[in-house]
Symmetry: none
Subunit: 198 residues, 4 copies
Amino acid sequence: MKKMKRAGTEWKIVQAAMEIIVEKGLASVSMAMIARRARTGMGAIYHHFPTKEELINNIYTKIRDLQNPVKVNDPVDQKTEDFFLSFSNHYLSFFIHRPREFFLFMDQCEQSPIISDNSKQLDERSFWPLVEVLAKGQREKLIKNDLPATALAYFVKGALDGFLRWFFTRYKDEYVISPLELTRTIWDGIKCPLEIGQ
Amino acid sequence: MKKMKRAGTEWKIVQAAMEIIVEKGLASVSMAMIARRARTGMGAIYHHFPTKEELINNIYTKIRDLQNPVKVNDPVDQKTEDFFLSFSNHYLSFFIHRPREFFLFMDQCEQSPIISDNSKQLDERSFWPLVEVLAKGQREKLIKNDLPATALAYFVKGALDGFLRWFFTRYKDEYVISPLELTRTIWDGIKCPLEIGQ
Amino acid sequence: MKKMKRAGTEWKIVQAAMEIIVEKGLASVSMAMIARRARTGMGAIYHHFPTKEELINNIYTKIRDLQNPVKVNDPVDQKTEDFFLSFSNHYLSFFIHRPREFFLFMDQCEQSPIISDNSKQLDERSFWPLVEVLAKGQREKLIKNDLPATALAYFVKGALDGFLRWFFTRYKDEYVISPLELTRTIWDGIKCPLEIGQ
Amino acid sequence: MKKMKRAGTEWKIVQAAMEIIVEKGLASVSMAMIARRARTGMGAIYHHFPTKEELINNIYTKIRDLQNPVKVNDPVDQKTEDFFLSFSNHYLSFFIHRPREFFLFMDQCEQSPIISDNSKQLDERSFWPLVEVLAKGQREKLIKNDLPATALAYFVKGALDGFLRWFFTRYKDEYVISPLELTRTIWDGIKCPLEIGQ
DNA sequence: CATGAATGAGAATTCATTCAT
DNA sequence: TATGAATGAATTCTCATTCAT
């Protein structure tokens, strides 16, 4: 019962922080605003998070952790194309099936120096499989190698994020969209063209 | 040197602001830091820009204006593929041939609510030709139509920005990169697959 | 003593602000000076009053409210002369029996555009009974009607304030003064001369 | 011709300063605002007036000098009542026949510490005849002596200023007003009542 | 654990004044 | 003389953080 309440408070704070950061921007959000939105006192926030930075980083890593379950498939085990498609689909559907604040919050934070190096290492870890599979694909001559695998990975992540940006700021339910097609589109872009006769 | 010659003060401020924002991030830059870096007094900044917000927005729109020359080619006049490729190439080479601060500054600002709706309308204007050509390509059955043209445009912009992010933060001259191949990669992704037998 | 007990902070700020404004003048008082005098931090002031302007206006209206108890006697109920004299006496004795800052602060503010229209409406409300009784007196032919009642009211207020200005800046206890005689003096001025033979 | 221009500039500055101070208040007027209103550069102001304080004080004393012609009638020479009435009438008509900024500017400044002691001595000098005549009247048993002459003088000045405040902020040409009646009213107030039988 | 008033260093902004043109 | 961009100290205001209740 008590723990319930505590967990509830922490979640209310996280919720409020995400909402308000998405609305007003990282730079112009104060702890007092978060407290007001969360309907708690300032003290409650500082009970759960020692500093503002840690609050932001904590939310950031919470989301990354949700996104990257402990056990990540090893790219080596699977067919390159399958791994690539499932990685991308997972990335998209993770955000699509969650409150819009999840993606928009991450999108705000990603370029900001408030995110500690520590938190950024988490990013790297989640980014790594993508780089790996692209490199593997290049070695297998399945994927274009005009650019280093890292560059392709940035390109792919940019494309996915661009789509999600559209989804969460422009999409209006008018019709069904299929993330699957999107990941296929990216794959079509980066894969090597079939040789004639193949 | 007590007094500054008139000329160039505004540009020195813009320069300094871009540099320092790229270094420390939008949120953690103070007007005093900008003044120090620009070697002006604080008042000089406020002489040229009424508020911090307007300074940022002004730089933002200055760059967008540079990027979008008054006369934009009309997508209707050209072959779809050519227009798409030249649009994307122009976008990439604009940033690649300019100081890295240009892109990194824009990238910082783009997701931030500090950019006013007014400035964002400029974005829309520069974005529009891309949406148009994608829509035209869809009507011509040249481009996949699983997603609305706007979504594809976000996707394309995301991909280009992802690449530039890599270019300006990871690229180390090790070897020659060709933006042309990148835009071709995107085109390969979004174009309709050739029918067998064609 | 690092932290202040809650109670009384607002009053200490008001107190300090009045004192220091009376000493140095509205224009040359800074929030830092007020904070120092009140022995609070600057933040405490802004916790209670959103801006410097609102602090001033708040003090102004606080005093006006003290001065005008909710229930004001209706001029219609009483003999004109009695009402006039009691109104004036009340005005004088209110300030005479309070710290000199009360009057001197009001006197500073009254002509200053820092006092918002909103606060000025309070003035009007407290001013109204005076205008009313003068108008009534004019209708009864008890009071000279060379000038509109409003003009007379400004005149009367000016006279009372002039006296108070003397009282708080020049009076030195040398001898007893009687505000009652003053209000009588004003009355003698504005009343109609007795007809010969009456 | 040249001198003309210079005199013109100085007057434009004085004019502009008075206007804007009356509008916005002494505290919130900057030299830049004055320059803009006067349609001059900042330098022009500093050619004519070494500091902001001196500008204000200069205007203040300019008006006082206009008001108090070098030769002031000596109260001793005239009948007390005549001197009192002509003094008061002169005070009122001086302001009434001049732009409203004259009075309203003086009213703003009078309580402010920006007015130097030097300038204030001018006030005293113009105030002195009033105190003198009231004292003389008291010695002659023509004027009530419940209060010291200085107090009466403050009272009288307050009354006159109160009237002018009405005149310049409320009066709307509806009908003719007669300052003469006003000064008579004050006289009626402060003079000793006639003994019955006299 | 929770509250929110209080702290005070630091950020944004203003403005009297100077001076190259 | 006139101009107005530039200076930078002073001022207003903000906000992460603490702590008495």
